[in-house]
Symmetry: C2
DNA sequence: CAAATTCTGAAACAAATGTTTTAGATATTT
DNA sequence: AAATATCTAAAACATTTGTTTCAGAATTTG
């Protein structure tokens, strides 16, 4: 009966994501987006929808990609405490090597305060990280690898909580060493 | 020779700051601002300048006010370790009772990545906090009130670093208890 | 009080914004 | 290959954006 959509929707969303990631929601114009995506606005409105819908898809894409990566990276590690350390260290690596900082945190502070739909997605992402890390913390406590605290929930919050500060710090100071020193101290605290 | 400016510039900037604080730089329009400030755009351009200049004044106002408050609050406290604890606790109080989160952090993630002028102001604010807390940490170490680490610089970074995570956490979860638990743990770690 | 100066308000400005329209190109089905 | 359906591109759309203009009101000084 008819033609098919010509552009690869996943690829297009990924390109839109790059722009939103760099410029934020309000700092991005529809022309920025269509230019980066290589499509016309009529195609965009016919397939994905308006700017807001495209943004929703973009953060979803961001968080989903990140979740998959985290799972893949931690899966092969047997020791829970080693996995926790790996998780912290690779967070430091990403934070200190990503020029555009973290799209989820940027979004939290820019629009999650007022946009419920966005907030839900961000919350789900945070809960995924929480559950992933909490599983490891609980196991590490059972094995006696962690003794600083017996409150796994709190320690999970405590560990995750460092990341946005490091992102903020890196934007302001662009100093990897001081972040690495904090991470080393954190790991030492947990290992004690 | 002539008339004086009719509006109170400090008050006007303070009202503009409220809008920027809530809506961010890109989310705020000139009409939002002139409406909140109760002045005409011609008056605004004749006195303060354009939107960007008004934003600069707004964050400056924000950070300066905050610095004064911090000094006032910590001055009467004699014991360095008690002052550090007070600093952490009152941060928790502000974080969990401020519906608009922190303007400095929001600004860092929204525009400090690309706006050098803004970044300078934010950096100066962070360095002020750093110096304030670092003085206390050094004294507490000399007195033997802190023993977890002898690296005052690193521990200062480490303590300050918690705050943006708590802000992020409060936006997403609106849960005071879990933040208070993290703060209690942090204080316990320092006191050890 | 008169003159001089500068501030204010409303309107106007061009440019940019998010979105829609429309005519024609393109692919699928029969 | 013809008919049909739906996609695409360019342009147009109404609003909204940040900023400026200008006539008149207001205040200070002589």
């Amino acid at each position: 009966m008819a033609r098919n959509v010509e552009f690869d929707e996943q690829l297009a969303v990924s390109k839109a994501m790059d722009v939103f990631w760099r410029k934020g929601y309000n700092g991005t114009t529809m022309r920025d987006l269509t230019e980066a995506m290589g499509i016309n606005s009529s195609s965009l409105y016919n397939t994905i929808g308006d700017k807001h819908e495209l943004f929703i898809r973009s953060i979803k894409h961001y968080t989903e990609t990140r979740m998959k990566e985290a799972l893949k990276q931690l899966e092969p590690i047997k020791s829970p405490i080693k996995a926790i350390e790996k998780f912290i260290q690779s967070s430091v690596y990403v934070i200190t090597n990503e020029p555009n900082s973290c799209m989820a945190i940027k979004t939290t502070f820019e629009v999650a305060t007022t946009d419920e739909q966005v907030q839900k997605i961000i919350k789900a992402d945070n809960e995924f990280t929480y559950n992933l890390l909490n599983g490891l913390v609980e196991k590490a406590m059972q094995k006696g690898e962690i003794t600083v605290s017996q409150d796994a929930a709190m320690l999970t919050d405590y560990i995750i909580n460092h990341f946005s500060g490091w992102h903020e710090f890196f934007i302001i100071h662009k100093d990897k060493t001081r972040i690495k020193n904090m991470a080393t101290f954190l790991i030492k605290q947990i290992n004690q």
